[in-house]
Amino acid sequence: MDPQDPVADTELSEAAPEDRSAAEGELVRQFQERVFLIAVVRTRDREAARDLAQETMLAVIRSLREGRLLDAEKLPAYVCGTARNLINNFLRARRRRPETGQALQEPATNGSQVDDVEQSERQFLARRAIAGLQPADRLILLLTLVDGLKPGEIAEKLGLSSEVVRKRKSRALGRVREIIATRSRK
């Protein structure tokens, strides 16, 4: 567990009722985005991921209120387990009725107003980082992250060696990471 993480110290289930809502707010603030991330990667559906993250937080808060979770240390694992169950149920249900499944790979920029400031800022920084890369590096990142190609496959497409592709990819990712990280340093 991250020692800087305030949630680690939140002993919500033991809090007095008047402190509860603040502690619950903090819990949601800390965990909801992380659960959303897991859900959106697994389902590739932002709307569903938002719902799943919310459902997860509600279920966790319910358990805490009912005193079913006494050990604050186990909170992250509990959140994760709850999220995983809900995500797996969702995926199973979607497989059973694929015709009603939502469009895969929905672009992040089409998100609703629920997108918070943090995410818009990240988008802005990602765009800036991409713009600062050389065209070939942008293409290498596109083929890697969007098309899921491995360095050897990209090398073949571009007429480069895998070693060059690997090096350029890791350098480009490093640059992007540096720029996006300026957000969390502020």
Partner: protein, 250 residues
């Protein structure tokens, strides 16, 4: 799972791409929920992916307008043409051009001895490191022939050490042992993404040039340019000068 493994193995990227097996996936998810730094890393990659996807058409279009030096077939065509002329006339390096200047290939093949700054090694020095250190003292004094045997011994003891392979290659090239230089520099490059990769490729281009193998030299220069590091400009200039020797599309 911990942050150092996530970083070292690119776990966040593999997770995003759905490439983790179930135990690793679950371990990463558990770690992620408890770790702000790794959650940030994944959020950054996820956003980057979405933004790349959004600009796909533009990215593909921009990349289609590549520098000429990326086109390896072109490099090969130039090299083949130059070599064909050379073969036909025997001593190709003395050829006088019908028009325009021909590069002085011997001058182009000249190299500066790669600088060497001794590194402080952690822990006790093993036999390979000791031989390397002693040989590099001779190297630093400009005694290439004196340094070679020690570097060969060090390389035999520790074939995976990129600095030994690289300086053995460089030293062989300086001592006029071009074939050995090519073998050692190729071995350096094959060790992957090390601090010596770009320099090894650049010296390989020079070594092939010295052998009159312009095709291989051009290929290595294209690799150097693609690596886009400190030698990029120099590699481009060198390719241009090869081009000036009479490429078909100039």
């Amino acid at each position: 799972m911990d942050c150092s493994r996530v970083r070292a193995e690119g776990i966040a990227e593999s997770y995003l791409l759905g490439r983790l097996d179930e135990p690793d996936r679950e371990a990463f998810e558990e770690h992620l929920v408890a770790c702000a730094a790794c959650a940030d890393e994944l959020a950054g990659l996820y956003t980057l992916k979405a933004e790349l996807q959004r600009s796909r058409e533009q990215i593909v279009a921009d990349a289609a307008v590549r520098p000429r030096t990326w086109h390896r077939p072109w490099v090969l065509a130039v090299a083949a043409a130059v070599l064909a002329v050379a073969a036909g006339l025997g001593v190709w390096m003395r050829l006088q051009p019908a028009s325009g200047p021909r590069p002085e290939l011997a001058a182009l093949a000249a190299i500066e001895p790669p600088a060497y700054a001794p590194m402080r090694l952690r822990g006790s020095e093993d036999e390979a490191a000791r031989r390397f250190r002693v040989a590099m003292e001779l190297y630093a004094a400009g005694d290439w022939n004196g340094a070679l045997p020690g570097l060969r011994a060090a390389a035999a003891l520790d074939p995976e050490a990129p600095q030994i392979a690289f300086y053995l290659g460089a030293c062989a090239l300086l001592a006029g042992e071009t074939d050995e230089a090519i073998a050692e520099l190729e071995r350096t490059a094959a060790l992957g993404d090390t601090p010596f990769l770009e320099e090894a490729r650049f010296l390989l281009a020079k070594a092939h040039l010295r052998n009159g193998d312009l095709g291989s030299s051009g290929n290595e220069l294209a690799e150097v340019i693609a690596l886009d590091g400190d030698r990029r400009q120099e590699a481009q200039d060198l390719l241009k000068r090869l081009d000036a020797s009479g490429g078909p599309d100039t």
